[in-house]
Assembly symmetry: C2
Homo-oligomer: 271 residues x 2
């Protein structure tokens, strides 16, 4: 029997591939990974489209409970759905190894991920350096480790894809202190204006001239969805710009080639 | 009217997304981009699956003839199919701009690309540096420019995805000299054993100790297809290893985290 790890792509139920849909159709159990990314469509809509129940798998599930899923996959085909591509998050390697060690065959059905779809802004995917993650700063915790990575990319003329923090199913501090039943905070998704502020704060503090207020950037908003926006501008301009609902990603441009500059101009201020 | 730029993903007709398939179904004209990547399935199979004719677009088409396609898109919906993701090759930005400048709306339907699917080997996509391309060396032309880029990645502990050269629709030198009707060479696809040889040659000549015979690497073979192989080993081991039919890609590992090492061990020699 096979455990299918199936990418759902970037947007809604129709972004699954035909191959992925066929695999879902033949599985009795269908799990949906809900902890490393957010689904842009409701679980109910997925269920209606697949004509079967979809079981939510949160972080606890994979850390503790996926034994059930792996056991099931010894008896029957099982689908494990992942937003984007199945291998763009760490824990799925972990799950993969657990499966093969248990004698369960894994088949991966790839799909689009922001890592490749970032090309929609017009910058060449071959000219990106290391991807960085930008965490929500708190009063006490303002880590600038992304800054050095952006510097390395900039030094080589490379663009940087900046993934913006997502806080989903985070327990409240009070419920953690209490210890028993955990309460969860409202989900939070960093948006481009916050990203621009935090990036400028890091530069203001570390002062290595990696980028400045005039550095050309892209805001990528709901990539692959019907309401996608690609907006280029100077870093400073993003501070005051509300680009609407999540998910947002951000790009700091390195050296741009001719055609990249044309695309930058075309997307200026999201025109 | 809309010009749909639709990613076909990595393998066969079933890797198109449901959204992509719906778009194809409503277009009278369907073009297939045949010059930056190779399709792992025949055009005829695509046509049978879509139940419509598919027009081949080669390099000349996009450089000269795509005017027809853009004109058609002013009157009716048109599909432009691209292997992998539509924005993982330069010229599609160019096409995109030509369309919007002509007043044609473009809608992009993303799909998997090797750029994100490389994660299937178990290395985290966030820990890759700049992608490099490895061209076929000729007697006189042995460019080592990839070496410096691998060095930069290695210096930061990052992995490197090495895209291997593809020669498709290359005119023969004789027919170029003759000038009129061009004859084309057989398509050629670099494989991992050739990649390993060329990489070691560059190191032997430039001697900066970027990698050596014992450097851990991955060979990625026909990723996303039914006959996919993921093989890890030392760089030297790949020289004598025949991993079969194309397409091949290669990965030079940087520093590996625990789970990455586990995946490396699991894939050792393609077990």
């Amino acid at each position: 029997m096979v455990l299918y790890m199936i990418g759902l792509g970037l947007y809604d139920e129709k972004d699954i591939t035909v191959r992925g849909l066929e695999a879902v159709k033949k599985c009795k159990r269908v799990y949906l990974e809900m902890y490393t990314a957010i689904l842009m469509v409701s679980k109910e809509k997925l269920e209606a489209f697949f004509e079967k129940e979809v079981i939510e798998a949160d972080r606890n599930f994979v850390e503790l409970g996926c034994v059930d899923m792996i056991d099931a996959a010894k008896e029957e085909d099982v689908a494990f759905l992942v937003v984007g591509d199945p291998f763009c998050a760490t824990t799925h390697s972990d799950l993969y190894l657990r499966c093969v060690e248990s004698g369960v065959k894994v088949e991966v059905i790839h799909n689009a991920s922001i890592v490749s779809a970032v090309g929609c802004c017009g910058l060449q995917v071959y000219r990106f350096g290391e991807i960085v993650s930008l965490p929500f700063f708190t009063e006490k915790w303002r880590p600038y480790s992304f800054y050095e990575k952006i510097k390395n990319n900039k030094d080589k003329g490379l663009h940087t894809l900046v993934l913006l923090d997502i806080k989903v199913k985070e327990p409240t501090e009070e419920s953690l202190a209490r210890g028993k039943q955990l309460d969860y905070m409202e989900p939070r998704y960093m948006r481009t204006h916050q990203a621009a502020e935090q990036l400028l704060e890091a530069e203001a503090n570390l002062k290595q001239g990696v980028y400045d207020e005039a550095t050309p950037c892209f805001g990528l908003v709901r990539v692959g969805t019907a309401t996608q926006r690609v907006v280029s501008g100077m870093l400073k301009e993003f501070v005051g710009m509300d680009l609407g609902e999540p998910l947002h990603s951000f790009v700091i441009c390195g050296e741009m080639h001719h055609i990249e500059e044309e695309m930058f101009k075309y997307h200026h201020h999201g025109k």
